[in-house]
């Protein structure tokens, strides 16, 4: 395994894992719920969509619920949490010397191809996270640590699929 510049100076994975677990534990102690991410994406999509087509979004069976009773979908715990993730990530990348304007891609694809795949992957994750009621943070970490049944089913499905699908698209990464 060779050290790449983008992977220099990272914490030992077990140290990072325990630190992450302690942040998660503290969140459970304070809030009763854990950390998440995709909920904020969903609310952002609702607000952006609402700015363009307010009626269609308010009448939508899924997104409409965010606006019931004149509520602002962005006044929400997870939206504020993800705001914190932005700040924490920025401080960490700057102090860690890993901030670099670039496209993260495998050696055999062009930047354009990689961006197209990132877009496609994003769309699929966006849809999937709605069906799953969460993502690798909310379901995986938070649901996993509290031993929720659905979260473990979800995680097994994510990683089993990912390892198999990685073979299919190996040209993107290796």
């Amino acid at each position: 395994m060779n050290e790449n510049d983008y992977a220099k100076g990272l914490w030992n994975p077990y140290v990072a894992g325990v630190a992450l677990g302690l942040v998660l534990l503290l969140t459970f102690y304070l809030m009763g719920t854990g950390l998440g991410a995709s909920g904020a994406v969903s609310r952002t999509a609702a607000v952006v969509g609402h700015a363009v087509a307010p009626q269609a979004v308010e009448q939508n069976g899924y997104l409409g619920g965010y606006f019931k009773g004149g509520k602002n979908p962005l006044i929400d715990w997870m939206v504020f949490e993800v705001l914190g993730v932005f700040i924490g990530g920025l401080v960490a990348s700057l102090t860690g010397g890993r901030m670099k304007l670039t496209v993260a891609k495998g050696p055999r694809v062009s930047s354009g191809q990689r961006l197209a795949m990132a877009l496609g992957g994003g769309v699929i994750v966006g849809i999937g996270a709605r069906f799953a009621l969460g993502c690798t943070s909310g379901q995986g970490l938070s649901g996993g640590a509290t031993l929720a049944l659905g979260s473990w089913v979800f995680m097994m499905a994510v990683f089993a699929t990912a390892f198999i699908f990685a073979i299919v698209i190996r040209r993107e990464w290796v």
């Binding site: 395994m1 049944l149 390892f163």
Partner: protein, 202 residues
């Protein structure tokens, strides 16, 4: 003081938003330090190169899982409140389907929602595009909601834990999970030695 503090009304909604930013800050900082600010570090788990995603996630889950049990034993955390009021509910089939989709999108896109955020703040343009894709994905889901809304709400099993399913004490299942994590760490090391893509590819 016995937690979860917010559910016991120790502080209100406005304070909870401050807590949200603070916990998010720590979350984002650790995710970046763990190496999740670049898609290459993340997907290398699927090619048996650097399986740190597995190590970080599993050790985080075990740390929080054991921590919650320990706090509960010390009288500092009411585990029954968690199980009854705030545990993530299970919708079996939708979660399985969502998991399969995320597994594909994760590999293709290189990120999951949380890691895309720390990659954006690390200057990764692909992560920004991935985030835009996720927003579009939510719109696709919303547009098709009349079609799959019924499935989305199906197989609702409520707030149910693995230990309730197996009819075992929480501590027993937690110990089994910890052992599973150790086995996974061991297998991850073997996988990196195996490194099938790096030998066959050359």
């Amino acid at each position: 003081m016995t937690g979860p503090l917010y559910l016991f009304d120790v502080f209100g909604f406005t304070t909870s938003l401050v807590v949200a930013v603070a916990m998010g800050f720590l979350f984002g900082f650790v995710l970046e330090r763990a190496g999740f600010g670049d898609a290459r570090t993340i997907v290398s788990i699927f090619y048996f190169r650097d399986m740190r995603v597995l190590r970080v996630m599993f050790s985080a889950i075990v740390t929080a899982m054991v921590g919650l049990i320990a706090l509960s034993r010390l009288g500092l955390f009411d585990y029954s409140v968690l199980v009854e009021y705030s545990l993530l509910p299970t919708y079996l089939w939708p979660q399985l389907v969502g998991g399969v989709l995320i597994g594909m999108g994760f590999t293709l896109g290189g990120y999951c929602p949380g890691t895309s955020v720390v990659a954006i703040t690390s200057g990764r343009v692909d992560a920004l595009v991935f985030l835009a894709g996720m927003v579009a994905g939510v719109w696709v889901f919303a547009a098709g909601f009349p079609l799959w809304g019924a499935f989305y709400k199906s197989s609702d099993l409520g707030r149910i834990t693995l230990w309730q399913v197996f009819g075992l004490p929480l501590e027993v299942v937690a110990a089994a999970m910890a052992l599973m994590a150790l086995a996974a760490f061991f297998l991850a090391g073997l996988g990196e030695k195996w490194a099938p893509y790096d030998k066959a590819g050359k």
